[in-house]
Amino acid sequence: MINPPLYDVTNISFAYDSALVINDLSFNLHKGKFYGIVGPNGCGKTTLLDLLIGNRAPKSGSISFMGNPVNSYRRSNLARRIGLVPQEFNTGFGYTVEEVVLMGRHPYIKRFASPSTEDWHHVNRAMKTIGIHELKDRYTNELSGGQKQRAVVARTLAQDTDVLIFDEATSSLDVKYTLQIFNVAGKLVQQDNRTIIAVIHNLNLAAAYCDEIVFMKDGGIHQFGPTEQVMTPETILNVFGVTTEVTRDPYNDKYQVSFQYLD
């Protein structure tokens, strides 16, 4: 049986001044799935995430989250349900890693209260999951790009939300940590029935981890469906203009995209 949709997006459009970035999008997202959003640079992926998280309001159309318009929720209420790992990772004036991860608990801590035992439990668990516990007293402005990005992922894990939105969350990470973050995300979906919505540039990662993929082009949806149906050479050619071959990887049985390199 099909769950009622987590997100019900109907005919949304969004424009910066006169430039239309999102053009009449409609789709539903369901709980407990790993969604990938792929598409060329500037096709509106980040704007779509901002709309889903309620950071921006669509110029027309509606976005319903768990049955209510996403912009009808209080910010703090939304922050207990949706977490964001942003593309840019401004870590502010030299806070320690632990302080930054604790900021993930902000929506749960009352204005003048101190963090509770439960808050610290989430903070420590998040740091251990991402493997940055030993960096906890380091200042974030002294960390490498990859370490900062892992701290930000840990902050979002500490936020303990049902929905996690990743905006190219692994862009600064090497292959080991990229896989680590995707494995953590995959477990959140499979074991905890959480939902991941991730903008991913690497088509092989998208093919390997996502249940369903949204192919975006020029502010609209070109294809949206289960990975095995939409990750095809035709779609990739239409969206990116790149010739590929999609096969099963004999090593892990995942879909694998091979590129025709130009000389």
Partner: protein, 346 residues
């Protein structure tokens, strides 16, 4: 967050509070007539308790010197220092730039322009409130113009905010020069006031600035944790449940209000709002809830010390704004260079 840093914060807070009180008493004793600490305490106590018996063995001019001449000026200097440091903490926190302060945003120039206008037109409509009101209006109009210039697609860009502030500040400075040109006979009043001075401070100025600083501290402390989170950038702070756009406007209005009152009462005094939060961040870390009280006290101590030097130590009274710029400018250059190195205070 560790126990060690909490203890450090408590010790620093107590030390600064004691230093503030001692600095007030010591500087009250300094001047043309030297007064002992015991006499000062007696005079203050007697005016609070209304008990003249305490003054029996004290020269009759001393209560007048302490209560009507020195204390208003000393308290005004302390409160203005606190207010400017408070504004600096807010602007730096919102702009994510440790070099930001009321001047970078053009707010001080806006306040000064408004106040100059009131001085030039000799507006005495609202008695002692005319100049602060005009300064506040100037600061707020400037703030809105600067924000409007730097808002794109409904979002304020921190970098364009500074750039707009500098541009508007330059235009307003030219405006002030034009007012000075028009002022003719009154030009001396405007020039002297612009350089900053506590000479004409009264208990009224103490009350007005004190009220503004307390209000500013309360509002900023209320939003202290939000301000911390906002240092992660607006996308992250929105996603963490902070009403970023609203909090930013409230805090910018608060900082501009405090700045305007300080500028209106004492003219343009630079660098306090820049140096103090920077130094204090180095000592207590970036958490605004700790940074606020220690910066306010340190700002008060620094400006009071500078004013006491110009009032009681130097042979000629140098305008306080000139003195803070002469001391603060080079100091600022050193910080600016050191900023290249990595560190907690960056």
């Amino acid at each position: 967050m560790s126990l060690n840093s909490s203890r450090k914060f408590v010790i620093l807070t107590i030390a600064l509070a004691l230093t503030t009180i001692s600095a007030i008493i010591v500087s009250t004793g300094m001047g043309y007539i030297s007064i002992s600490a015991g006499e000062i305490v007696k005079v203050i106590l007697s005016s609070f308790n209304n008990s003249p018996s305490l003054l029996s063995d004290i020269d009759s001019t001393i209560p007048y010197v302490v209560m009507d001449v020195r204390l208003p000026r000393i308290l005004t200097a302390t409160l203005v220092g606190a207010g400017l440091a408070l504004s600096g903490v807010i602007y730096q926190g919102i702009l994510l730039n440790p070099l930001a302060d009321p001047y970078t945003l053009g707010i001080s120039s806006g306040a000064a322009f408004g106040a100059s206008l009131a001085l030039l037109a000799n507006i005495t409509l609202l008695n002692q409130f005319s100049i602060p009101l005009f300064a506040f209006a100037g600061a707020i109009i400037t703030l809105f113009v600067v924000i409007h210039l730097s808002t794109f697609n409904g979002q304020i860009s921190a970098n364009t905010l500074i750039l707009s502030g500098v541009i508007i500040g330059a235009i307003l400075s030219a405006g002030i020069s034009f007012l000075k040109y028009l002022a003719d006979e009154q030009v001396a009043i405007i020039i002297f006031w612009l350089m900053g001075s506590f000479i004409s401070s009264t208990w009224d100025s103490v009350m007005i600035i004190g009220g503004a600083v307390i209000l500013g501290l309360v509002i900023t402390f209320y939003y202290g944790r939000d301000l911390n989170i906002m240092s992660l950038g607006s996308r992250s702070s929105d996603a963490l449940g902070v009403e970023t756009a609203k909090v930013r406007i409230i805090l910018l209005l608060t900082a501009s209000f405090v700045t305007a009152i300080c500028v209106a009462m004492t003219g343009i005094i630079g660098f306090i709002g820049l140096i103090i939060p920077h130094l204090m961040r180095f000592l207590v870390g970036p958490d605004n809830r700790k940074l606020l009280p220690v910066s306010a006290m340190a700002g008060g101590i620094l400006l009071l010390s500078a004013d006491t030097v110009t009032r009681a130590v130097l042979p000629v009274e140098v305008p306080i704004g000139v003195l803070t710029a002469l001391i603060g400018g080079p100091f600022f250059c050193v910080i600016f260079r050191k900023r290249q190195k990595r560190g907690r205070h960056d």
